[in-house]
């Protein structure tokens, strides 16, 4: 949160009219619209993922032992590292918003770059995990070929279907986030943002926090079962 005192030193928020579209009365109205729009979009994202969470719940209730046994096949250490990476990126993103509100140009660029770096690192770790699963044959249902296929974990394939669907969809969102933050980075290098205009940073920040939040649920649900 920004202290009132700090704000009052610079220009009033949303005072910059450069980017106001013609159909808005004021830049402030435009900011409110953008923010509401992003919240609504986040609602749709939550519902989009909720389908997978429901499927997870249904399969887990039906075959709890499969989930416990299969989750043991995931690499909790890598999952934990990724959790830390994403939490760090949330921090840098929040900081980026703050920098833009305070007009700290260099800080903004630095924070956005760090966020992107963290996101890429996350994908890298994810890639290592996926490659590992591929080698072991721990794939989704129809391709499942782990050493215990057909024996101890008859339905382990179901678990890995859920695992790949959830983490895969999440990874797609990380990639979209990298693209969006990259766009912010480009604009911030150009000097678009100021305490009087920081709507895009704010809004993309919201998105990024949601993507992190989804992972915060995925990590325990997939890696820490049992």
């Amino acid at each position: 949160m920004i202290a009132e005192a700090q704000l009052s030193q610079g220009p009033a928020p949303h005072a910059d009219e450069t980017f106001r579209a013609h159909h808005f009365e004021t830049a402030e109205q435009q900011f409110a619209a953008a923010k509401l729009g992003m919240w609504l979009f986040l609602v749709t994202e939550v519902l989009f993922f909720s389908g997978l969470f429901v499927a997870y719940a249904v399969f887990r209730v039906l075959h709890p032992e499969v989930f416990v046994n299969s989750a043991a096949l995931l690499d909790t250490k890598l999952g934990a590292i990724n959790t830390v990476i994403l939490l760090f990126s949330s921090l840098t993103m929040a900081w980026a918003v703050r920098c833009s509100q305070l007009g700290q140009q260099r800080g903004l660029v630095l924070c956005l770059s760090l966020t992107i770096a963290a996101a890429v690192a996350f994908l890298g770790v994810k890639g290592i995990e996926y490659a590992h699963k591929w080698h072991e044959g721990h794939l989704w249902a129809s391709q499942y070929g782990g050493p215990q296929a057909g024996e101890t974990f008859d339905r382990a394939g179901s678990f890995f279907s859920v695992y790949f669907a959830m983490t895969g969809l999440h990874a797609v969102h990380i990639i979209a986030g990298i693209a969006a933050i990259g766009w912010l980075l480009k604009r911030s290098l150009r000097g678009d943002f100021s305490p009087a205009y920081y709507t895009p940073v704010d809004v993309v920040g919201l998105y990024w926090h949601l993507v992190d939040l989804v992972w915060i649920f995925l990590f325990p649900l997939l890696y820490l079962v049992g």
Binding site: F41, G51, V58, L62, A141, S142, Q143, S161, A165
Partner: protein, 570 residues
């Protein structure tokens, strides 16, 4: 509505006189194809949507006629079983996803909503245009399925049939997935517009009911459509990769698919009907020249339908889900009927002691009330457990949903088209032929679909290419009705086309309605209003007076003694 405005919010007298418009209207403002391709104007996007969905309706309609022709006799009449299965699937999919869901919100709503609200545009014009292009993309994928291997799953894409058939399920579901995002974008846009863009004076309870209905529709679009999105994505993954969420052979659950599908598709039927109800409220009130009865109940009932609609999806699965689930969903199903009933009764009360003129839009509105009531009441047979077991997946269901979707949503859509046509294109049409087309459609519709109730309750299953000879009589009646209905719709299209070439110029307010879109020129200028409109009670029509020479209604000069803000009207 009883709020009487303090006199200060009224404009001085001369502002209401129709002054010559200096700005060119939105159609003539810029010319050339590029000015449409890149347009961010909600009115032009609305018009492009209109063209798109009418094309889709024509395609779906032609397929319907082929389906009905095939059913003239058991076994082969004009096509084989596979061709038939492809035909009704694409008919259903096109009619729902390409036509009726976007019809009123994305075409009429896009055009009318900002003007009715008194805004210059929707909140996110770029996203609005994107939504139109997504619609086009989705349509291309969906229709490409027809050119590839066809699509033979039924519009419901039930697994494991849809994951094992060799028709083009991936292309079609990808198309529907994209169409879903088009719908979500419209929804987000409308919610943000209603929240953020309302001008001074436009309070929630001064919003016309059409806006309330679009708003509650948008809530459903935003909350339900993403679930369809993930469902279709999983279906695609199932077919392409075999992830096995829904395939029992791979540890999945086909009934889970049904839950996912209907979690969207039941609320989706209220995406179809809520905007229609909004249109009807405007029409009934305007042509009775009296405020809508029970305005607040109408607002609340729209919101109630939107929310209750999320609780009842399981009524499509009484024969596949557990008995316990069936009982709960049956009970919840009936809850939606209460707000729907409130609407019907309030429309009737609005007619009471009105001054009713049977213009073309009004004829469609009255047809809507009758047909929707039949459709809704037959929904009760389906919601009741014992009877649904017998009626499920028979022609009774087919008749039910055509009564609500076609007799309901489509009639309201056409009625709305006739109502706002002068505003859209600045042309009047032939009242006589308009009413005749309504009559033919009304008769043809009942002739086609009423026999289907009897067919269904007598045991004729739906999606049947071949049938037992005992059902033929009723099928023949239904098919002949469909041809008659087709004539009515073609006549209706002819009335519109004729009006475009030959129609008389429309005045700003041909109906004497009090909502804001009638306070600007027909067609409106690029930024909707030359002067900022002043918001008053949306149904206070008493002040408007017909000018015989222009056919325009203008507001009577304000005289303080008439209404000085101290008296209450109700």
């Amino acid at each position: 509505m009883s709020t009487t405005l303090p006199p200060t919010t009224r404009l001085p007298e001369q502002a209401w006189k129709s002054e010559p418009i200096s700005e060119p209207d939105y159609l003539r403002n810029k010319r050339g194809i590029m000015s449409w391709v890149y347009t961010l104007d909600h009115k032009r996007i609305g018009v492009m949507y209109l063209i798109g969905i009418l094309t889709a309706f024509l395609m779906g309609g032609v397929m319907a006629i082929l389906v009905r022709t095939e059913l003239l006799s058991p076994s082969r009449t004009i096509m084989g079983p596979d061709a038939y299965n492809h035909m009704f699937t694409l008919h259903g999919a096109i009619m729902t996803f390409l036509f009726i869901i976007p019809s009123i919100p994305a075409a009429l709503g896009n055009f009318i909503l900002p003007i009715m609200l008194g805004a210059k545009d929707v909140a996110f014009p770029r996203m609005n245009l994107a939504s139109w292009y997504l619609w086009v993309f989705g349509a291309v994928f969906l229709i490409a399925a027809m050119a590839l291997n066809g699509l033979d799953t039924g519009w419901t894409f039930y697994t494991p049939y849809s994951t094992t058939t060799n028709s083009s399920v991936i292309s079609a579901t990808l198309g529907v997935f994209i169409l879903g995002f088009s719908s979500i974008f419209t929804g987000i846009n409308f919610i943000a517009t209603v929240h953020i863009m309302r001008p001074k004076g436009m309070t929630w309870f001064r919003m016309p009911l059409f806006l309330w209905s679009l708003y509650s529709t948008a809530i459903i679009q935003v909350l339900a459509t993403p679930v369809l999105g993930i469902t279709l994505l999983l279906l695609i993954a199932e077919r392409a990769l075999g992830i096995g969420f829904f395939d029992p052979k791979l540890g999945g659950d086909p009934v889970l698919y049904q839950h996912f599908f209907w979690f969207y598709s039941h609320p989706a039927v209220y995406i179809m009907i809520l905007p229609a109800m909004g249109v009807i409220s405007e029409l009934i009130s305007t042509f009775s020249r009296t405020p809508i009865f029970g305005y607040r109940f109408m607002c609340y009932s729209a919101i109630a339908i939107a929310f209750l609609g999320f609780l009842v999806w399981g009524h499509h699965m009484f024969t596949s889900e557990s008995a316990m689930a069936a009982v709960i969903f049956s009970a919840l199903t009936f809850s939606v009927s209460i707000p729907s009933g409130i609407k019907v009764f309030n429309w009737l009360a609005t007619l009471y002691k009105g001054s009713i003129s049977l213009t073309t839009p009004m004829c469609f509105a009255l047809s809507f009330i009758l047909l929707f009531t039949i459709g809704g009441l037959t929904g009760l047979f389906l919601g009741a457990l014992a009877t649904d077991i017998h009626l499920h997946d028979t022609y009774f269901v087919v008749a039910h949903f055509h009564y609500v979707m076609m007799g309901g949503s489509l009639m309201a859509f056409i009625g709305g088209m006739f109502y706002w046509w002068p505003k859209l294109f600045g042309k009047m049409y032939s009242e006589f032929w308009g009413r005749i087309s309504c009559l033919i459609i009304f008769i043809g519709f009942n002739w086609t679909f009423f026999p289907q109730f009897i067919l269904g309750s007598r045991g004729m299953p739906r999606r049947f290419y071949d049938y037992k000879p005992e059902y033929q009589g009723l099928h023949v009646i239904s098919t002949s009705g469909a041809f008659f209905l087709g004539i009515g719709l073609i006549l209706c299209a002819a009335v519109f086309l004729h009006s475009l070439w030959r129609g008389r110029r429309a005045p700003a307010n041909p109906w004497g309605a009090a909502t804001l879109e009638w306070q600007t020129a027909s067609p409106p200028p690029l930024h909707n209003f030359v002067d900022d409109p002043v918001v008053t009670d949306p149904y206070d029509m008493a002040d408007f007076e017909l000018q015989r020479d222009t056919g325009d209604y203008v507001r009577r000069p304000y005289t303080p003694s008439q209404s000085d803000g101290t008296e209450t009207q109700s």
